[in-house]
Amino acid sequence: MYLMQFLALAGFLFCVGVYGVLARKNAVLVLMSIELILNSVNINLVALGVYRGFDQAIVGQVFSLFVIAVAAAEVGIGLAIVLLIYRNRASIDLSEADLMKG
């Protein structure tokens, strides 16, 4: 198998995630798009690790585990913030959350 297959798949997921972050205005959907981006990064880490040989494959997997842990923390905090915004403004429309707009 070519390394490029995995890199292309990861790149596609990354770009779909970027589109979701840019085009969605529901905060929960934006968080889901961020998950897409993080998963594409994980595929890249594992694939490039395998490409570099067995020792580096282990290192890639360990870093992927760290990314998964950080993603779990990020979703927890993100949803807490979304809940707080919903409680204060009764809406999670990101285009309305412009309190700090200059």
Binding site: G20, F66, I77
Partner: protein
């Protein structure tokens, strides 16, 4: 070798279509369910890359915990269940242009660097190997991650608490 490529093709097709549905569907709950398909596909790709421990962790943590958290978020924010037209902002065209441009640039650069690179025969990384690596070489990052998780837990409780 052929079987691997067929499996990869099926996974890539399902993941690509589901990922597009995640960012375009009009139904918030459907977006979460399509996200499950993408995450399961990522687990399948990990298995193709001989990272079985990571595949199990992916299913446990992402599908088991994070998607449930998303569903709770949808429920608690009383997001409209069912089709709603009002989930996208007015920058869809620009977003699509940016994403396509990024995909072009990424694809070109990656093809330039790794276009002909073939993966070596995969040696299955057993859970023990991964564990030894975490607790010897990467023990300090591991501790930092555990403190980060604790801080995130406390922070989420403090942020979401009613007072």
């Amino acid at each position: 070798m052929v079987g691997e490529n067929i499996a990869f093709g099926i996974l890539a097709l399902v993941m690509g279509l589901s990922a597009i549905r995640v960012v375009t569907t009009k139904n918030v709950v459907h977006a979460a369910l399509y996200l499950v398909l993408v995450l399961a596909g990522v687990a399948g790709v990990f298995i193709l890359l001989a990272a079985e421990f990571l595949a199990i962790v992916q299913i446990l943590v992402y599908i088991g915990a994070i998607v449930v958290l998303f569903l709770f978020g949808i429920m608690l924010t009383r997001a409209p269940i069912g089709r709603v037209a009002d989930l996208d902002n007015n920058q869809r065209g620009l977003g699509a242009v940016v994403a396509l441009f990024l995909f072009g640039v990424l694809g070109w650069i990656l093809y330039d660097g790794f276009g002909e690179a073939r993966l070596p025969v995969r040696e299955v990384a057993r859970s023990g190997d991964v564990g030894v690596s975490i607790f010897s070489t990467f023990v300090i990052p591991f501790e930092v991650i555990s403190v980060l998780l604790l801080a995130a837990l406390v922070g989420a409780v403090v942020i979401a608490r009613r007072d």
